[in-house]
Symmetry: none
Subunit: 225 residues, 2 copies
DNA sequence: TCGCTTTTTAAGAGAATTTTCAGCTTGACG
DNA sequence: CGTCAAGCTGAAAATTCTCTTAAAAAGCGA
């Protein structure tokens, strides 16, 4: 499932991205209306999250434009104002639902699911590799009947690794996606988490190990016997 | 399809962005080499357009860096000079194609399509020569079922040699691409690495040898029986 | 605030990689 | 041959990266 987030406030955008990714969406983020239209027209999304207040053209215009181009992806509008005109305008312009900021994460998730269920897809809630399974709804890592709890950051790191089981995941990618662009975290921080995860994998007695590629990053691998 | 443009001249960059967008690419533009590397490492692009002359680090170094991180996105280099050394360096460093400025829009479009078509069809993750194979996703050299691990620099040297199996690779080219422009490493350093690689080839019992051409450089060759 | 979990930081051990050096071999050329 | 420059190699030294702990700091709910 793919999601597009159109939101100019970077921090909120990052938080939303996280939420969507926790729901197993592949997520693109853009920070203005023009890009929103471009992206919506160029790639097939299952849902578009759209802020009304944007630096260039506003959310209403974005919906209108993409609808006029026959894109029928569900649109969830986000607005700081709880005013009736906004809602009406949004729905008239072609949005499928709206939410007012601030909002509870649970409510957002519920609405996301309501909108995407409608389009008839199944929501992926597990990631598997070799003998382990990552539960995307809870936050734990399982092997057969055993399971360990993962903290949010451990979970994010593991999810990225399990999403790219074939290739190495760059240290840059991991840090960017787990801590964010300008977090300024040290490599050692990531290393500590890798260490935490390795301990938990040993605890589970899994055949999965996290391999280091010097100067590059990490990848999962399965130990023989 | 997503494109990244790395070009410091704003007006040219804007023109390029327009061209890409007309071809239905979602396009990011950055104006210096450092940002180019960051973007390339953090998002999946289908093509990267890269100017050689950039304010901070040059285009060669950009390609070299992202390739050393195993990013295999096709790179189209742009150069004002039509000099052979530039082309050679670019292609050795891991670029897929180059164009000299000024250029015709049609030619650019044709090259873009050639490169992205290619990437759609085959994912290049191995380099082969005679009886050996270089795994570009991991860091190892294989012969049949045996394999040896290569360190980052060993890997780079080997990749350059295997990229140019027909001709000799100049010592300067090797040093430039593996150690960088102003590293000031001695020839003996390269010799040491050649020696490491030879040992590993012997270990693999490969028919491949690294031949020295006095005062020039090295080339791969296959020993008979 | 207290107690718990999570995250960050720090430090040292340990590995892996890279560089350096000395002595040796090879090839070119008179 | 003899000599010199260029190249080769193994070993040690130096450096850089990584791993693992433990402890400090931060966050969070009761």
């Amino acid at each position: 499932m793919r999601a597009l987030i159109v939101e100019d406030e970077k921090r909120l955008a990052a938080a939303l991205k996280r939420i969507f990714e926790d729901q197993a969406f592949v997520t693109d983020v853009v920070y203005d209306g023009k890009s929103g239209v471009e992206y919506a027209l160029c790639a097939p999304y299952d849902i578009i999250l759209l802020d009304i207040m944007l630096p260039d053209i506003d959310g209403f215009e974005v919906v209108q434009t993409i609808r006029s181009k026959k894109v029928s992806t569900p649109v969830l509008m986000l607005t700081a104002k709880d005013s009736v005109p906004d809602k009406v305008n949004g729905l008239n312009a072609g949005a499928d639902d709206y939410m007012t900021k601030p909002f509870a994460t649970e409510e957002l998730i519920a609405r996301i699911h309501a909108l995407t269920r409608r389009s008839g897809e199944v929501v992926l809630d597990e990631l598997a590799y070799a003998d382990i399974t990552l539960d995307l709804t809870g936050c734990d890592l399982k092997k057969e009947n055993a399971s360990v709890h993962l903290s949010p950051k451990e979970f994010e790191v593991m999810r990225l690794l399990m999403n790219n089981p074939k290739s190495a995941v760059l240290k840059e990618t991991l840090i960017l996606n787990v801590w964010g662009a300008e977090s300024g975290v040290e490599d050692n921080n990531l290393e500590a988490y890798i260490s935490f995860l390795r301990r938990k994998l040993r605890f589970l007695n899994s055949s999965v190990t996290i391999k280091n590629l010097q100067k590059i990053g990490y990848r999962l691998s399965q130990e023989e016997g």
